[in-house]
């Protein structure tokens, strides 16, 4: 029996505690004090309080960075977990502030509460190497996201999306739990490093193969990798804009970090290889296959979309494919590349959803035709959208380009001396050439097509416009000077090991 130092536990978990506490404060304030004001003011105050909470958590992490490993990996604090937590918190702040101008709900307190609870779940997700905590945190996150997706009570689409998300999510959670139970059975432990030590052996145990596949299914669902992506297009389309942005950005960051950790730590010793010409059984070929299918399906199906949200959903599937390549490589550099990629990707997607939210509020839908001639109606917003989409397409000098470059370099570097993973890189680069086509189609609407006759001028709320400009500037800055973020990520990865 290990004695638990509760004081230390509280100290390490203080950032999460701050977030949860601010969630409760928001809820109480909204119920008790703010009921009689209109939605706009309630949203502004609630988002303000919540943002202060998130900022406080960030400050706490930055000022007194704890380094700890409690109960063999149940709760971990090191520079790497701090980095992921700060990234998640920053994204949450952006989403809170972007949602201030939305009108889809009267239940402001609940909405903000769920956002913050989900954020806390993501923070726990980043800070643990224990199967039980992983599963609990993942379920907390998922349940919050289901409700967030359904939050627009007046829209049948939102309900349908949430129901689909919930059903698929429940099933994938079952798969994940099944995989975890097998792992526990094989190793008699719930700690990832101990599991890895136990399953290490010359031949793959058939039960381990099942565990690998079911875990991959469960986590593949979270990151929307094909063929477990069916929920993504509907949720991206049906959910209220802030929820969709949250699912597409913050939750992606945490899920990918988790996915990498579970695979690289928990299944160390059962890697196999996906390098041509000699595949070896293990989890790496499974990841490689998922990556290849995601890249192909996401990019090719995105071409046919006529709604910008669905287009972003398929592009998210494609990007999940690229990011899975980092897991295929599972080296320290590829973890750094993955973090850089997922953070810059989250910034760009968040920005794109911000633009969609503004356009939707004025034109009523997110069909591509609603974006006709946007550059004549609101040049600044169009410029931001162009920056976000071109970054997603990987055009330099935007962040998305360097992210792709660095990712591909580290993947190819993972098997020194051989070009065995080159086939994946060739596929990824070829598919990113395809992706330019559908991003350009959107920009063609924005810049080339004439505005529809009698279309009203689009007014962008001042706060949204400022936030979108900040995001666009960040995407440009991280593309021109990747080192600003990369230096930090590199140091964190080196300091924490894998």
């Amino acid at each position: 029996m290990i004695a638990i130092n509760y004081a230390q536990l509280l100290r390490v978990a203080l950032p999460e505690v701050i977030v949860v506490a601010s969630a409760l404060i928001v809820m109480a304030a909204d119920f008790v004090l703010l009921r009689r004001y209109n939605t706009r003011i309630r949203f502004a105050l609630a988002a303000g309080i919540a943002s202060v909470g998130c900022v406080a958590a960030i400050v706490r992490i930055l000022l007194t960075p704890e380094v700890a490993n409690i109960l063999n990996g149940v709760l971990i604090a090191n520079p790497l977990t701090h980095l992921v937590q700060i990234a998640v918190l920053t994204l949450t702040i952006f989403i809170l502030l972007l949602s201030v101008d939305s009108t889809f709900t009267q239940h402001v307190g609940e909405f903000v509460l769920l956002l913050l609870v989900a954020t806390a779940a993501m923070m726990f997700l980043a800070a643990t190497q224990d199967l039980l905590i992983i599963f609990i945190a993942l379920e907390l996150l998922s349940l919050s996201l289901y409700i967030l997706a359904a939050f627009n009570k007046s829209s049948a689409q939102s309900w349908e999306a949430a129901l689909k998300y919930f059903l698929f999510g429940g099933m994938s959670a079952a798969f994940l739990l099944f995989g975890f139970s097998l792992l526990y059975g094989l190793s008699n432990s719930t700690s990832l490093p101990l599991i890895a030590a136990a399953i290490h052996g010359p031949a793959l145990n058939p039960l381990l193969v099942i565990a690998i596949v079911t875990t991959a299914i469960g986590l593949g669902f979270k990151v929307a990798a094909a063929p477990f992506h069916f929920w993504a297009p509907d949720v991206y389309q049906g959910a209220p804009a802030p929820s969709a942005a949250f699912i597409a950005s913050g939750s992606k960051v945490a899920s990918f970090f988790l996915f990498f950790q579970v695979m690289a730590l928990g299944f160390a010793g059962a890697e196999g290889t996906a390098a041509l010409p000699n595949f070896v059984r293990g989890w790496v070929p499974v990841m490689a296959l998922m990556a290849a299918v995601s890249m192909l399906l996401g990019n090719l199906v995105a071409i046919r979309q006529s709604s910008l949200r669905r287009l972003l959903a398929y592009s998210a599937i494609a990007h999940a494919g690229y990011m899975l390549l980092a897991i295929v490589a599972h080296t320290e550099q590829s973890l750094a590349a993955l973090l850089y990629y997922v953070v810059t990707y989250a910034l760009a997607t968040l920005g794109a959803f911000g633009v969609i939210a503004v356009v939707e509020q004025q034109t009523g839908d997110d069909q591509l035709s609603s974006f006709d001639g946007l550059s004549r109606k609101t040049p600044i917003l169009s410029f931001c959208l162009a920056i976000f989409l071109l970054s997603l397409a990987g055009i330099p000098p935007l962040a998305g380009f360097f992210a792709k470059f660095y990712l591909f370099v580290t993947v190819l570097n993972a098997s020194p001396g051989s070009m065995g993973l080159l086939w994946l890189i060739v596929l990824a680069i070829a598919m990113s050439a395809v992706s330019l086509y559908y991003y350009l189609r959107v920009l063609k609407r924005v810049y080339v097509a004439p505005p529809a006759a009698g279309a009203a001028v689009i007014r962008t709320p001042l706060l949204s416009q400022a936030l979108l400009l900040v995001l666009a500037a960040a995407v440009m800055l991280l593309g021109c000077a990747p080192h600003l973020l990369l230096r930090w990520i590199d140091a964190a990865v080196r300091a924490s090991g894998l």
Binding site: L390, I395, P396, P397, F401, F402, F405, Y406, F408, V409, L412, N413, P416, M419, L422, I425, V426, I429, A430, S432, A433, L436, Y437, L440, K444, Y447, V448, P482, H483, L486, R487, D490
Partner: protein
Amino acid sequence: MLAWTIYISFLGAAAMLLLPRSSAASARILALITAIAGFAIALIVFVHHHTGEMHTLIRVPWIPSLGIEYHLADDGISLTLVLLTGIIAITGILFSWNIEERTKEFFAFYLLLIGAVYGVFLSYDLFLLFVFYEIVIIPKYFLIAIWGSTRREYGAMKLALYSFVGSAMVLIGLIAAYVAAGANTTSLSQLAQFPFSPHFQMWAFPLVFVGFAILAGMWPLHTWAPTGHVAAPTAASMLLAGVVMKLGAYGCLRVAMVLFPLGLGPWGFHVLGLGSWRDVFALLAVIGIIYGALVALVQKDFKFVIGYSSVSHMGFVLLGLMTLNQIGISGAVLQMFSHGILAGLLFAVVGRMVYARTHTRDLAALNAMNLYKIIPFAAVTFVIAGMASMGLPGFSGFVAELMVLIGVWRAYPLLALCVGFGLIVGVVYVWRAMQKAFFAGAGTVLVPPNPPLPPITIPERLGATILIATSVLVGLYPQLLLNIVVPALNSPLFEGLRKGSWQ
């Protein structure tokens, strides 16, 4: 100092967005001043630059953890092309003086494109070069899609996708080279010294070469060029044919051939009489020359004639590179310059002087107007440009093509004969287009244009004069450029190429 060509163009593009919304004149003047400033810098450096060897302009670490540097440098070859870019930029603005719709945005995209082109020519770090190379794609797309004519959205998308596919191939090659060298550097000179295995070079060379050659209009991947040129507004066609196609050829020489010189060596076996990638690309280049000329011969659309002539002339550049001897490659560089000037001039006549006035490019319809009587300046300009394009002595095209031909004669005597045939067809298509477009025959029923055509404006006259004067100057005194191009080819950078299969 030369680095400021890039910064000035980008700053000009940014300043364009700050101008008042409705003021087209100020946008034009700002663009012109920016372009002239860029050219003036290039000219000053050119005057002071006697040796043609490599000068580092700036070299600072950019992304240290990956060994990527912000490294700009110039040598004789890049300086030649920077000068070309400066001239085309100025004249392109003069020929787009009539843009009235969304003028500000037009020139913002235009200057962005120019700045990125300068950047490609001056980059000495592969990552940096690639960044500039890809920035070019987006403004190109919008220039055509917004301000273009016939099937503009199709032409623009085709151009963007061809370019992007090309750069994707280049990117694969560059990443593979970076990883294979394992030296944590993307510096061109350091990677060029790394002994990549012959097996690696054998697949990496064609990949990167073709990736760049797509943009240089290599047959059979040239199809973006005619449609793109035709769809583009005049200034954009001038830039596309004049400068952007040179980016591809420059990449072939500066990156593909320098990094992987062994890729040009023999395979060790023969397929259809071809024994190396060098043979393959030389053959494709010759096919391009003849095919482009023959197709230009039967076009009904005036602008397509010029579009296909570009494919034909760019064939000379690629062929010159594949001769792998000094006279052939320096001829290729000279041809890049010469074709840049002449294609710019031809597109200016067709797009601005003729099409913008008559609103038709159909040769039969133009023939009935007997334009020689109405806009004699355009006719005279086209005659001069046509003569230069045919390769008449006294113009830049003559020297360049002669040097390429001598180089080919040494390397591939048989192909030289085919090129001779291509040259003859070249005379014929120019002649045909000239006669049909400007000079109505004796028995033609004349249909005078209605309403009457506006006269040729001063900016147009100025632009045409600059381009003709440049071509004549280089034609009469080619040493002007050769003095800096030849030493650049003898610099250490091309050592691998010289040691390998240089003849």
